[in-house]
Symmetry: C2
Subunit: 418 residues, 2 copies
């Protein structure tokens, strides 16, 4: 039984340009950390949502309030109707006005939901990916809130989609041994100088990565193009190169960059403009093909993702379980993406800790291609069981739960009480 709920405000300032992008020059990576403690403190479910510092305390307050309804309940019972609980909670008539399904309240729902999944896996004594693969299609779908998707994905069709993949799961289990490929997102932070960028690119390829990403969106287009040339020259023609503008451009600028960067054979252009602008993304997808458009880290919910997919605006779906309502809405969006034939390459606000589990489920159970998962090593020293990336691939985690335990939680500011 869940006897205690608590929410911690964890902040980790960066230095030396790490984590910097066109919009966030001095990032403070932060988590609102929901902790659900079962009786006798035998198990602690830990759930994260990501922010960039100020405002993290608002998410903590909302998570503290919304998690109260879980007290006194058994986690097995909660998970048997998690989709209904999510729906009720998101529709709380007092809080709904602040969204719906977006912003501070929805981020809080992500943190709580992720804590529920972690606690469930720990109580069953398995890693989250194992738990997910052991669930029946019906059990998975009971954890999802599919409201407002009825025109494209009902509970029945979601179950059917998972059932269709069941017979061929065995063919995809090899990923557990091989490890899930990673791509290196840390070679080209916005604040890195040219020499550091070049060195990072070379080291990354030596370390076994076959794909990497550069931050762009400079006020000076030629800085972006010069840095992109450095990257391409450093890694050669066979490594996949992506760029990420972090929403810095208006549509005309994004088109301009896309046209001028054609010679560099980009694999995708990420977050070219505002994340609510489904039509601008479609225009970019049409104009810049065969280069694909990637987005999702700021797309707040399944409804907007549905529109993105219906419109053909996304080449890669970068849903983040710390932005949408946790593991559950991540799975929902993965099912939608599968239905529309779009690969899922999550953004990792969790630094990959949680998503290393989710991509295994996506590949084996949903039938998504095992493309690659973003790799950001910057917070490894704060996690109890940091993900292991070797030879450019995530090693399959063996610890119980969702790998989201943070060290020194008790020293952080907290909301709620024992």
């Amino acid at each position: 039984m869940i006897e205690r709920t608590q929410v911690h405000d964890a902040r980790y300032p960066f230095a030396n340009g790490a984590g910097s992008d066109a919009v966030h020059r001095h990032p403070v990576y932060s988590y609102s950390v929901t902790v659900l403690e079962s009786g006798n403190r035998r198990h602690r479910g830990v759930g994260l949502t990501f922010t960039l510092g100020d405002g993290n305390e608002l998410v903590c307050q909302a998570a503290n309030h919304l998690s109260q309804s879980l007290r006194g309940r058994d986690i097995e019972e909660v998970m048997a109707e998690l989709g209904c609980w999510q729906r009720r909670t998101a529709n709380d008539e007092r809080y709904r006005w602040l969204g719906p399904h977006k912003g501070v309240v929805h981020l809080a729902l992500a943190s709580i939901t992720n804590a529920c999944w972690d606690l469930w896996a720990k109580q069953r004594g398995v890693p989250l990916w194992r738990l997910l693969l052991d669930l029946s299609p019906e059990e998975v779908v009971r954890t999802l809130d599919l409201s407002y998707l009825e025109d494209v994905l009902t509970e029945e069709s979601a179950v059917e989609l998972l059932r269709e993949q069941w017979p061929t799961r065995g063919e995809r289990l090899g990923i557990l041994e091989r490890g899930y490929p990673g791509y290196d997102t840390s070679v080209g932070w916005f604040g890195y100088d040219d020499a550091k960028l070049r060195d990072n690119c070379r080291r990354s390829v030596e370390d076994g990565f076959t794909a990497l990403k550069l931050k762009v969106g400079s006020p000076d287009l030629y800085r972006d193009l010069r840095r992109l040339e450095i990257v391409r020259n450093a890694v050669g023609p066979d490594v996949r190169c992506m760029v990420d503008a972090n929403q810095q451009w208006a549509l005309p600028q994004a088109l301009e960059f896309g046209r001028r960067s054609k010679e560099f054979d980009l694999y995708w252009i990420e977050e070219p403009t505002h994340p609510d602008d489904v039509l601008a993304h479609r225009k970019l997808a049409e104009e810049l093909a065969p280069v694909k458009i990637a987005a999702g880290e700021h797309v707040p919910n399944r409804v907007l993702f549905k529109n993105y997919l219906q419109m053909g605006s996304l080449g890669f779906c970068q849903v983040d379980a710390l932005r949408v309502a946790g593991v559950s809405e991540f799975i929902t969006v993965s099912l939608l993406a599968k239905k529309f034939g779009v690969p899922v390459v999550p953004h990792v606000g969790d630094m990959g800790q949680l998503h290393q589990h989710l991509v295994l489920f996506n590949h084996v159970a949903v039938g998504h291609q095992a493309l690659f998962l973003e790799y950001i090593p910057h917070l490894q020293e704060h996690f109890a069981t940091p993900c292991r990336v070797e030879g450019g691939a995530y090693r399959t985690p063996q610890e119980t739960g969702a790998s989201c335990d943070l060290l020194n939680l008790s020293r952080l500011a907290s909301h709620g009480a024992a």
Copy 2:
């Protein structure tokens, strides 16, 4: 000079079904109230954003934080670059992650922005509508953040749009004498019984209203249709009848209601489904024509409105200056709507106090049709100068400012300090 900033948490619980809809059965109408006080307490700018109770304190905290940057500045100087200030504030690298341009932080920006406009009008000693009509097109556009609209509305084209209307303004000034028509949104709250609904409809028509609205979205479609029949029978064929589902339906249900309600000659169907679902609204617009689709009270920003308008998803644009970033983003969306030929009929989270000014500007300066403005009388006793609706029309307000002064503010919980 702005010497003090303070944010108050004002909550007004309702009783007897007033204000109830399909989603909000027991509403607590609430405001996050930003107060900007100029030197010697000569002028107090008061700005509102609306919520439904719990969570209002989160908006207050965000508004308190974001308003700090206005301290020590002169309001004339602030307003001469308000668009830039809005852009900087919305892009604050710590807070941006919580949106962008949506949720708690964006609501806070609405509250602060509205306080700026109120203070500006009070300092100039005129009602807000007068101030707005006296500004040059260039001065208006300097108060707007048009970022992410470059593909359809630049600063130059916004100025041009206002200039085009300048020569014919005189023809539209008669509205100041006649008063702006209202429509009655309080006849058919969700919790009202049939007899009360019938009586309210008759009284509304006697009071001079020529349009009114019914809350629908019942789990039982036949309850909605029965109540709609009561309304139509009570008011006759010449009164415009609208319905509002408050997002209660999925697309298939909304289509079902639309088809079954054809005989009642609806003027619009409001918020049929999720406010992020631009494509579902377009599908409804196509399938249910000539009945129009209205939405906007939960559309958080200009970018999503741009997509709504580009897609032809809206028959009526119900932007609310207490949902988007205040008067400034309201004007931005009004300009967009004008460009796409869609009438603006604001949702009034302010109970019409602020919007009675804005619709006069929309009609005279932007050239929008003077259709009608929603009328909700429920909080009149809390405003210092409640709007006056006589013979079904808003009387043009004559007091200085934006008519948003609330009584007994000093007795409310507050954030920030003198």
